[in-house]
Subunit: 99 residues, 2 copies
């Protein structure tokens, strides 16, 4: 388990506000999930490359991989993507008018 | 500083492959950066809300906020977004034909 004290200390170094225990717990949960997802994606990368060792580049690659799967997950549970899509189409249609 | 031993242990729980020291270091760097960015965004959230304490919901909100800024950063340095945009437009134009 990631030590809450360490996380809170790093947070403190980056803000002058008070830090609630709940916010530390939420961040620890997110980091924990981040490590699990990243390790699994890095493993896939290494296996695809016929390696038995996870290397630095596997971790780097999967940061973007994770981002992509996260975007899909978010698109499934939020209206924001729809709003963004509409904005995207508005920009596109205004381009259409100009040419 | 986040303890490398703890991170490596969590990684080990999620893969049977060997884990290089470099991959642990890369992951620790990413986590460290994640905490810094998240704390700063959470602070902005709390200040906007006229609070002096960072709460759990500030952390939750900024996970998506961070994702959005990351997407923009990626779109600036990769061709993938252009490719996805083209795919998006292809799907859209095929919709156009059907109606």
């Amino acid at each position: 388990m990631i030590p809450k004290g360490t996380i809170k200390r790093i947070m403190k170094e980056n803000t002058n506000l008070n830090i609630s225990a709940e916010s530390v717990e939420k961040l620890v949960d997110i980091l924990q999930e981040y490590i699990v997802t990243t390790t699994k994606l890095a493993e896939e990368n290494a296996i695809k490359d016929k390696r038995k060792t996870i290397k630095g580049r596997d971790i780097e690659n999967c940061d973007e991989e994770r981002l992509r799967s996260k975007i899909i997950e978010i698109s499934d549970r939020t209206e924001k993507v729809n709003i963004l899509t509409r904005e995207f189409l508005k920009v596109l249609s205004s381009e259409l008018k100009r040419h």
